[in-house]
Amino acid sequence: MWADLVFLGQIAVKSSVAVALAALGELVAERSGVLNLGVEGMMLMGALAGFAAALTTGDPWLGLGAAALVGAALAGLHAFFAVALRANQVLAGLALTILGAGLSSFLGRSLAGQSGPRFRPLHLPWLSDIPVAGEIFFTQSAPAYLLYGLAPLLWYWLFRTGSGLRVRACGQGAASADAAGVNVARTRALCTVLGGALAGLGGAYLSLSYTPGWATGMTGGQGWIAVAMVVFAAWRPLGAVAGAMLFGLFQALQFWFQATGQELVPAWLLRMLPYLLTIAVLAVVQGSPSLRRRAGAPADLGRPFAREG
């Protein structure tokens, strides 16, 4: 029983890495005031680019790098429309998701079904030997460890440094940030691009570690889960990772029930839970004025900024 639970935890963490990376990326973009609904498309392109580069070079790390670049490039496209042209961010983001899905399906046709290099579980000295926690968190592949480092780093950046303060200011009050001398457009563009790179990494984790290989539409909606998790976490990095892990747990439970044949909770309910929880969190936060004021929801999210005159 105990071993089963540890195994369940392991699978849960394993299933959460892609969502967590993409959610962190979306969080940075949204904190700066840019809503990017193109996460799903950027993840798909990242998954394809990562797999293709790893297949060509034989090195999964180069695949990871390529995925980040492709994700960043697509996000750059979003930044061009959403920040430079001040287009409607919802429409631009949706277009990006459609573009990513279509383009990856088209370009990946010859790669589907091939097998290539992958990240294997990496045993870390000390950490992997800790009972229970070590077995759950430190028997993962390299991108998971990247995530463990990245989440606190992003938190520190956003909440403990001057440039992080300026990023949050662009999302919370673009006019105030501008009056304080922050270059709102540049900050937003850079954050969007950084967010895209992380979404690309999330996608590559899927094609290089979680379900190695390329399959059309292989993200299966994880990009949308990532967008939901940002809201669920009230725009806090560590909360986003925790939310992603909760999502991973639901995934793991589905596998578990399938494997054991005893379906304690129906699979459709588990698949629904991340969205239901997000709605519940939104309802609770919106219902309480003091929570609402303290929640991180960027006041200027999705609102293009232009100085008059």
Binding site: L165, R166, Q172, G173, A180, G181, P289, R293, A299, G309
Partner: protein
């Protein structure tokens, strides 16, 4: 301190403008503006709304680029491409709408403007200038006066020595105004240059060393020193360009009119928009043929009270009765949702009062359409007629009924909203801060419209302007911290003094239960 300012030699101005021009499309907001600001002096910039004061200041703060002219700071010509460059030149501005991020702490807001400022520095600087605010507090939890202090701390923290204040007292309580003035005097004594933009002549005479007056984008009187300055009547005349009556003609109340009570609130309590208790135990009655003013300093619960009486919710206890609605019977406050015959002119004329992208005619139909028998179809001709009437009766300046509402200035928009609400022939007009931010000429038109209505209906006026309340209202209900402290007849010779004291929260000296006496008077 006064002696100090007189001994400072004028020398070279810290900031000087020559021939500054700025156009927005066909409108010239600034034409050939000259302005000099010296260290250790307060330069008051007077002018009506739309005179170009804010445009000029936005140019100095680097938000707009001028189309022509030269700006010198410390003698060197500058051309600001961004607010950041103006900041670097030592120019700091306290905008009318604060540039603060509500969900962040005071310290974070200061650090945004002055990177690297530590909490201890912020507290120490606040202490030194009498601007103390706890750096750890959330801006959303601060009062307007405290927020303004944060804005000033931001400027001082980054060492700005040319400080621009845009209508700084419009949101302050009288006690806070005095505190702000002493801060300004201290900054002046330190040799900083201060520009004070204002409508209020008293403030100018109390604080300014130099005075410039803008009218229609031009300087009509430049750099008068205080002793050269003419009296306030003359200053007002220079501002508007014609003789201004500082009071309107209020006909005596028609005693023949029946004293029918149109609106009566009993023990009314309620919450503001964010769910906090805002007002309590309010008893208020408005009769036909009179104007009742609810007067108070902003932030004393009058916004929530106005919304609640207008039927927008927020009431938790007490009752409201409205003549002709449910037989005039009192109904629980929680269920009060307005009634036919009640018209409402909201304070926020841009957001709540109109839709910028819709035409004037459409805006004229936004409320009151349900009263018509026109059915589901939009009667655009009626909307156009309302606009035409506003053009004729209230001197609304508009191109055509098809022009978008967003093209109107604040004063003209207010006239349109008034015309719309009056077209419904209300039994009670609830007008909230109807002349706030309007220039004198527009305000006079609004006042006249309210006085005209008084002869046939009831008016409940929410205002923070004592002069407006005294010259329009028959009775004044003073609200302080959510309670009506007293109701005073406007023709009472001691009204000015008593209302002024009550607004500041100083209850009548004789009784501690003065509030109960006062509310009894209107029951």
């Amino acid at each position: 301190m006064a002696a100090n300012t007189n001994t400072i030699a004028r020398g070279e101005p810290l900031l000087s403008c020559r021939g500054v021009c700025k156009r927005f499309g066909a409108v010239a907001a600034n034409r050939d503006v000259d302005l000099d600001v010296w260290p250790g002096r307060v330069h008051a910039l007077l002018g009506e709304n739309g005179a170009g004061k804010s445009t000029l200041m936005s140019i100095l703060a680097g938000r707009y680029r001028p189309d022509g002219g030269v700006i010198r700071v410390r003698g060197a010509p500058v051309a600001f491409a961004s607010p950041a460059q103006a900041r670097t030149a030592g120019i700091g501005m306290v905008h009318q709408r604060f540039m603060l991020i509500e969900s962040m702490s005071v310290a974070e807001n200061v650090r945004l403007a002055a990177p690297g400022a530590r909490d201890a520095d912020i507290a120490a600087l606040g202490e030194r200038y009498g601007l103390s605010v706890d750096p750890a507090r959330l801006v959303a939890d601060l009062s307007m006066g405290e927020r303004q202090r944060v804005e000033i701390v931001k400027l001082l923290m980054r060492g700005a020595d040319i400080l621009i204040f845009d209508e700084p007292t419009s949101i302050l309580a009288p006690a806070e105004v005095e505190a702000l003035f002493s801060v300004l005097r201290r900054l002046k004594a330190e040799g900083r240059a201060i520009v004070l933009i204002t409508h209020k002549l008293d403030e100018v005479l109390a604080l300014a060393d130099d005075i410039s007056i803008l009218r229609r984008g031009r300087v009509v009187a430049g750099c008068l020193t205080l002793d050269q300055a003419p009296g306030r009547r003359e200053l007002a005349r220079l501002m508007v360009g014609r003789e201004v009556l500082l009071s309107v003609e209020k006909p005596p109340r028609d005693c023949g009119a029946e004293d029918e009570t149109v609106l009566a609130a009993q023990g009314l309590s309620g919450l503001d928009a964010s769910g906090r208790p805002a007002f309590a135990d309010v008893d208020l009655a408005v009769r036909r043929g009179e104007i009742v003013a609810v007067i108070g300093v902003a932030g004393n619960g009058q916004d929530a009270l106005a919304r609640c009486l207008a039927g927008l919710g927020g009431g938790t206890a007490g009752s409201v009765a409205f003549a002709g609605h449910e037989g005039g019977r009192a109904m629980p406050a929680a269920r009060w949702r307005g009634a036919r015959g009640l018209s409402y002119v909201p304070e926020d004329r841009h957001g709540a009062g109109s839709v910028a992208a819709m035409s004037l005619a459409e805006n004229a139909l936004l409320t009151g359409q349900a009263d018509e028998r026109g059915g589901p179809l939009l009667d655009l001709a009626r909307g156009a007629a309302i606009v035409e009437r506003a053009v004729r009766d209230y001197r609304l300046k508009a191109e055509s009924p098809q022009a978008p509402a967003g093209s109107l200035s604040g004063g003209n928009l207010q006239k349109l909203i008034l015309a719309r609400e009056l077209a419904a022939e209300p039994a009670l007009l609830l007008a909230e801060q109807p002349t706030q931010g309007l220039d004198l000429a527009a305000a006079e038109d609004v006042w006249q419209a309210l006085l005209d209505l008084r002869s046939r209906a009831a008016v409940l006026l929410f205002t923070g302007d004592l002069k407006e309340a005294l010259s329009l209202a028959d009775r004044l209900a003073v609200i302080f911290r959510g309670r009506i402290l007293d109701v005073i007849a406007a023709d009472d010779p001691t009204a000015i003094e008593r209302v002024g004291l009550l607004m500041a929260g100083v209850a009548a000296p004789a009784t501690a239960d003065g509030g109960r006496n006062g509310t009894g008077a209107c029951a």
